[in-house]
Amino acid sequence: MVPHAKSGFWRGLAPYLLSSILLISAYMHVGAVKVAASSLAVIGIPIHFVASLPSMTLAAMQGRLTTTEQLRRQFEFLREQNLILRARLQRFEFLENENNRLRELLQAAPQAVEKVTLAQLVAVNPELGSLTVLVNKGSADDVYIGQPVIDAGGIVGQVTKSSLFTSKISLITEESQAVPVQVVRSGVRAILYGGGKNRTLRVMYLDRNVDIQPDDVLVSSGLGEIYPPGYPVAVVTAVERNIAESFMNIEARPMSHLGRDREVLLLWPTQLKASDHDSDAMVEEKSE
């Protein structure tokens, strides 16, 4: 019983390594392989389904276990909230109309209404220990890479991978993610970086004397052209001004629920037209 007596390195391992490398390079350079891989991802659906069973049964049990009284109270609460939100929406519609009229006066293209789709979270953790969530909409639903994702609180993240029926969303708290933001109160522009799991977001490279303070709301600025402008992203929690350093240490807390809800919204922002760019962006494009 001698293992690998017949099949040494050249017959036992090398062919597999070679085929892996071929597969990886084919995936990198041949479009058809990418499409095939994203279609093959359907084999993951039963595995994801089984993995999501515990949390699904837990959620179902919670629904069963609530008493009529609790349900009635919840219903009352939701009805009240609906009323408040509707009242706010009326004002919003009025403002949107006014905004479009003013834009017409300025001869700028009116901002069309964005397309939105509700996607359900497949309650799984697609990559080991990473800050990504999986949703049940994929390239078959026109999901594209770099698509912004929001929930009731604000921006959740962006789509970083999509297969035919599922796509992977990287949360804004991930270390590799950055969101261009603007302070609502003062209009200061900055970039918000993810801090990793269980860590806060950081605003980096802001000069010591810039106007920013705790409880400031950061909304997306629309620069970078991934996230549409105006969506809430985070609240500043701590600002540390250090005389010895030229930049401030600023920490922020995300406003969205970061995939803890069962649903998220996928946004299809309307394409920015040349007339929508402000002059700064034009200058940047030319200088490149």
């Binding site: 490398i21 990886i24 595995i47 515990p54 220990g129 990473s130 991978k161 297969s163 269980n198």
Partner: protein, 166 residues
């Protein structure tokens, strides 16, 4: 050890445990602090490569790795590559590693998982999908620490299913 008949009663047990490991891999663990979820699939593959170096060899590791790549929407071939490598090493040294006490096996597992993550980082760097964060490395340590548990659970499953041979 004379075994005329190596056919076992339930030869599908290894595959069932691999499927369970795949499910554990994608199980939602949002509540746990980052980096406390080891790569169950690698651990299970290492166990079966130790138990049956020939039957549970590189081909099965390759296919399992490819399934991991596909269901996690990763680069197809990356995990297939790394899992083939660690299973090949485990299989070649199986007779020696099997003689170790469990804690020494943990050290071997630690080295194997480190090798796997290092190659994943290199592949990620070459393909532009860099692996970020320290939590992947703590997962390696956790993987080595839970090895005794994996070992005992899988050995029980193997004995209860009466699997023998290589």
């Amino acid at each position: 050890m004379i075994q005329v008949d190596s056919a076992s009663r339930r030869p599908w047990i290894p595959f069932l445990t691999l499927l369970a490991a795949l499910i554990l891999l994608v199980l939602p663990m949002q509540e746990l602090p980052g980096g406390f979820v080891p790569d169950w699939v690698s651990l299970v593959l290492i166990y079966w490569a130790l138990a049956f170096p020939v039957r549970m060899g590189v081909p099965i590791a390759w296919v399992t790795g490819l399934i991991v790549d596909i269901i996690t929407l990763g680069i197809p071939g990356a995990h297939a590559f790394t899992k083939s490598v660690i299973v090949y090493i485990t299989g070649s040294l199986a007779l020696r590693i099997r003689a170790f006490p469990v804690w020494q096996q943990s050290v071997v597992v630690f080295l194997l998982l480190t090798l796997e993550l290092a190659s994943l980082v290199i592949i990620g760097g070459l393909t532009g999908e860099a692996i970020t964060g320290m939590h992947r490395w703590t997962a390696v340590v956790v993987g080595a620490l839970v090895w005794p548990l994996v070992y005992h659970v899988l050995r029980r499953s193997r004995h209860s299913s009466n699997l023998r041979g290589s």
